[in-house]
Each structure stands twice: as structure tokens, then as C-alpha cells.
């Protein structure tokens, strides 16, 4: 994932898509990417192109997500699904260690874990931004999460430029998309004209090497033009999050009555945190067997919406839904800057679509800004 290079674009015909997966597999990568399961486009194992959501798209609205057939056979003709790539790097549930008590000793009994080499197929620009944010969290600080670091180092990113946006997308206002700018090994743009194919660009040395092995034809100007038109189409987004002064806006509004208003709708279900590609909170659970001599520690995704999350002796610190939503939104859009030097939001819109009651973070931020304007 070196510096951005001068793009030299090649053409990957749809009929040769499986060659790309074969090339990655032959280099030891397990290909994972979008596939249709349970009426959603989720990330799973990809053996060949038939596993991809060919001919499917998705409709997004606050509190609503549906997949439906397209009128064409586009492979990447959807926007984002409920899964984020973090599940491969920061796994939802994982055993951290096992210990066996033997006399006056504790012995670690877990087998050594080998690093899984993944090729992520179909990573969107906003998702690359999310991966880079989680890189800073898990590998950029005083302490490094070794499992994340080792797995992440091996990830081969095959990204796809968006050529359409959902009504919930606001990556343009977050400056994270829709076009991939770095963080990718191979970048595809799917075009349907002049013929259905992928315009491919290598963005790293290992991308170069894979691309060279495929021996593809150079893209012609009409291909490049069609790709640019597609990305421009995706740039048209009606939803936006005004980021100017947003960090301080939330900092100032810790006591805003709006938190109560949101709490009257929020179910504190934690969906937004699970769907969010940057949310990183986890909990641990220590367990033992009946003999009491075998102990394990498990790490699981946690959410600031869970009551236990803030538990101290005596009770939970954040007892109300208002306090929990405030924590989530303020962290995402404000204190994240203090902690990790960027916003915690990449504008993917998942928290809007998968909120069962359709709470919209962009709308809540707008209302907060407006309320201040009225007061002052």
C-alpha cells in the first residue's frame, strides 16, 4: 500500500474475474467479499465470481434496508451491507488465552495462532477510511493489538469505486469517498458501457505484481471516461454531515435537551455500534470449567449502549439512554478527534439504515446546530 501512483488503467473482462481470485488464492490469500445471504449483502468466503451479488442492489432509508434485483448483471451494483470488514480483523468473538492450573503453576495451553491472509474483495472508499481509522486505534498507539496488527499487515485490498450512492450515503461530506484514494492494492471500477468490464488500477507493489500476472489489456479512453462518469454519479448525494465546527458543537452540547428527545426514540439496541465500521469497543469474559483448573478469557464486541458497559461498583455510570446516545455520538464526531486525530465517522450510513427506529446521525447533528442558532 505504497504512495499513490500514476494510474495506468487496465481492463478486466467480467469473464476473467475468476482469474483474479485464482491469482490471489495462489498467493495464499483467502478471498472474502460480498455475497447474498439472508436477504442481505454480507461479507463471506468468495470462491468464484458466482458467489458475488451479481444483479443485486440495495435500497437504503432511515430504518430500512432491502435488496432487490437490478436490471443488469453488475457484480458490485449495491452500496454497503450490514457487515463491515472489521469482523475479519477485530473479530466479534475470540478466545484470547487458555490457562491450565497445574499445582503451583499456570500453563498456557492455547495452540499458536497462525495469521490468516485475507484478500478483501470489493472494499469501498468509505470502508478503506474505516480500516485506516481502526489501524490507528489498534496499531497506532502506545499499545498494539497483536492479532489485529498481524492480520491487517497481510490484507490484500481489492477496492471498488462506487458508481452509485444510497440515500443514506454521506461520504462526500466526510471526504472519504466515493472514489478510492490510497489504502488499496488493486482498485476496480465496474462499468457497463461500452461493455461490462472492470477498469483496474494497481496501487501498491503487490497490486502491481498480481496485475502483471493477469496480463490484461490497457484501458481505452472510453473505458476511463465511463469509469469517471460512474464515480461522478456516485458523488451526487443529498445527505450530508456539516463537519465545520462539529467537534466543538458536540463538546458544547453535553447538556442539550436534544439527548432526551433522541432517547425517547432510541431503543438502546446497539445496532448502530455493531454495524459501524469504526466502532471498536470490546469486553472480556473470564470463564472456567467445572474443575476450576482450566480458565479462558474471551473477547467480544461490546457497545456503549449496553447498560453494563459503564458499570462500576454501585451501578452504571450511564444509566439513561440519553447518556448512552450522547456518549456514542459525541465520541464518534467529537472526542474521536482528541483520541485518534480524526472523525470516527466515515459517512457510510450504516447506523442510519440499521437503526430500527431510523435515527439519523446527520439529522441529529443538524438539529443540534439549528437549536444553537435559535438560542444565540
Amino acid at each position: 500500500m505504497g504512495p499513490k501512483r500514476d494510474a495506468s488503467a487496465f481492463i478486466l473482462p467480467v469473464a476473467r474475474l475468476d482469474e483474479l481470485f485464482a491469482a490471489l488464492r495462489s498467493r495464499g490469500y483467502a478471498c472474502v467479499g460480498p455475497t447474498v445471504r439472508d436477504a442481505a449483502i454480507v461479507y463471506g468466503d468468495i470462491e468464484h465470481s458466482a458467489d458475488l451479488p451479481r444483479g443485486w442492489t440495495d435500497d437504503h432509508a432511515p430504518g430500512s434496508y432491502r435488496i432487490k434485483r437490478r436490471s443488469d448483471n453488475a457484480y458490485f451494483g449495491y452500496v454497503v451491507g450490514p457487515h463491515a470488514w472489521k469482523k475479519y480483523l477485530f473479530t466479534p468473538e475470540r478466545r484470547l488465552w487458555q490457562l491450565q492450573r497445574a499445582g503451583a503453576k499456570w500453563e498456557r495451553t492455547d495452540p499458536p495462532v497462525e495469521v490468516q491472509k485475507y484478500a478483501f474483495i470489493g472494499v469501498r472508499a468509505c470502508e478503506i477510511a474505516a480500516l485506516q481509522i481502526q489501524d490507528r486505534i489498534f496499531t497506532g498507539g502506545q499499545f498494539v493489538e497483536p492479532n489485529y496488527a498481524a492480520t491487517r499487515r497481510e490484507v490484500f485490498v481489492v477496492s471498488v469505486n462506487c458508481t452509485q450512492s444510497a440515500s443514506t450515503c454521506f461520504c462526500v461530506s466526510m471526504d472519504t469517498g466515493p472514489e478510492v484514494r490510497g489504502g488499496s492494492d488493486l482498485t476496480l471500477t465496474e462499468i457497463l458501457q461500452p461493455e461490462h468490464c472492470f477498469v483496474v488500477r494497481a496501487d501498491s507493489e503487490r497490486g502491481d505484481e498480481v496485475l502483471a500476472s493477469l496480463d490484461l489489456d490497457c484501458a481505452r479512453s472510453e473505458h476511463s471516461h465511463a469509469a469517471a462518469v460512474g464515480v461522478d454519479h456516485a458523488r451526487r448525494q443529498s445527505r450530508r454531515l456539516e463537519t465545520a465546527g462539529l467537534k466543538d458543537l458536540l463538546r458544547r452540547n453535553s447538556e442539550s435537551p436534544q439527548w432526551q428527545d433522541i432517547a425517547s426514540r432510541c431503543l438502546s439496541c446497539a445496532n448502530c455500534t455493531l454495524a459501524c465500521p469504526t466502532c471498536f469497543c470490546s469486553s472480556v469474559e473470564d470463564v472456567s470449567d467445572l474443575s476450576g483448573d482450566h480458565a479462558e478469557r474471551w473477547q467480544r464486541w461490546d457497545s456503549c449502549f449496553n447498560p453494563d458497559f459503564s458499570y462500576m461498583h454501585g451501578g452504571e455510570v450511564r444509566r439513561t439512554t440519553a447518556a448512552r446516545y450522547r456518549q456514542w455520538m459525541t465520541h464518534k464526531l467529537s472526542t474521536w478527534f482528541d483520541q485518534f486525530g480524526s472523525s470516527g465517522c466515515v459517512g457510510c450510513g450504516r447506523c442510519i439504515s440499521w437503526c430500527p427506529v431510523g435515527i439519523d446521525i446527520t439529522e441529529e447533528a443538524r438539529k443540534m446546530r439549528e437549536a444553537e442558532g435559535v438560542q444565540s
Binding site: 495469521v115 497483536p146 455510570v317
Partner: protein, 283 residues
Amino acid sequence: MASKAADVIGTQPLLPQPWVVSEVTRETDDVVTLTMDPGSGAAPMVFRPGQFNMLYAFGVGEVPISISGDPAHEAQLIHTLRAVGFVTRALCALQPGDLIGVRGPYGSHWPIEQHAGRDIVLVAGGIGLAPLRPAIYHILSHRDRYGEVALLYGARKPDELLFPDEFDAWRKAGIQVEITVDNADACWEGRVGVVTTLIRHGRFERTAASAFMCGPEVMMRFAAQELENQGVTPDKVFVSMERNMKCAIGLCGHCQLGPEFICTDGAVFALPRVQRLMTIREL
């Protein structure tokens, strides 16, 4: 080039190391001091006053507990903890010879060395004396580096005072030890009243004093206010904060207080950094 396929993932940072409990001292009804030695072949722990460890009861769970021993005595690790939850109850029930899991030390420390040459006010509430004791030991070892030193300690009842056997030695070494309890029966001849009253009467030069505080957050808020009333400015006041904590290494997200991670940015903070945050409800 892709690197070789079978790298093995390295050390697990959340793995506790076994230490051997060598001594168990019952301080009060529900507070115990554990003295522990490194397991065979393991290195002693170098720490600074105010830092904490994650203590693990085998198969039960793990909690953050401040170190209460002398930083100059590396061969022994001492923790004082109160049985309030099921993990702390299991830890308090350990016996000499038992193993206890330890990982750390973590977090920031009392900036005691940076405040040499000044008067030092230590404000402790309840179990909050334990995290301050390493700072007291440091002062005792370097008494000539400090001006007036006052320990202002408040507890709930006389029989809930920690380390009463040490008070005389501390006084002899030139530390004012002022004690107060919230309520008492007629057997108690000491002060009754809240710890803030001690601040009003403590013997220290208001403008040359640095204060280190540890206790319940409400107590620290009132004590900080009283210190400021007395002329000790907030930038010379340091507080030890507490929140739910799972990893202690800034990765699990639990201990956030606004922008701060208590585990890696704290637990000891200069007051101005957390003063506003302490006033926001349910933060």
C-alpha cells in the same frame, strides 16, 4: 511482495502473569492488603506511585487495582483492595501461597518528583488512601526534598480507617496526618466531619502547595473546590479517576471519560483536564 504465510501471532497483552501471594492482611471488615512475590524466575515490577495493575482471580475475572506498596521495594508487590464485587471478593479470599494473576503496571503516576521543593497536600477518602500510599513512601524516603507535607484523610467510620498502625511513623517522619470520620460513637476521640474541613485547617503554604487527591468523585469535587477557596490553583491539583475497565491498554473503550481514557491518559490527571468532565452527569 506478500510475506510468508505462516506467521504466528505474538504475545497476548491481556495475559496475566502468575504471582505468589505471600501475605494477607485484613485492614477492615472488607478491605484486604495482599503482598505478592514474582513467580519463580519472573522479574520484579518497577512502578511509579499512582500506577495500577490488573489483578486476576483464576477463572473468575480481572479488575484494575492501584498499587499501595513502596515503589523502592521492587521485590514485593502490594495491593490494597475492597471486596465490592465478585472478582474483588475472590481476590480478598486468597490465602498465602495462592497464585494471583497480574499484568501491568499501567497508567499515569502522581507527579511527585516534579513537585519537589513544594508543600504537598495529600487528600484521601476511604479506600483512596491506598493509591496515595506509594507517594507517601516516596516522600518518606526523600523527606528533605519537600516543604510541609499534610495527609488529610477522611473515612466513613473509625474502624474503616486504613493503615492506622503507620500513622505514628509518618508523623515522626514529619508528615502532618490529619484524620476525620463521617460519624463515630463516643469511643472515638478524633475529628468528626468531612475531609473538606481538614483542608480549611491544614498547615501548608497555600500558594506553594501541590495537592494529590484520591477518593470518591463527589468528595474530590468538593475537596477541589475547597483547595481552590484556600488558594491552591487547579493546575497544582492532581486527581485519580476511576471507571469501568477491561483492557487497561486503551483498546476496549470502556473507561472513557469524554476524550480521556482513564487507563492510559490517567488514572492520575491534572485537575484542569478533567474538572469540567467531572461535572457532566452520567458521562
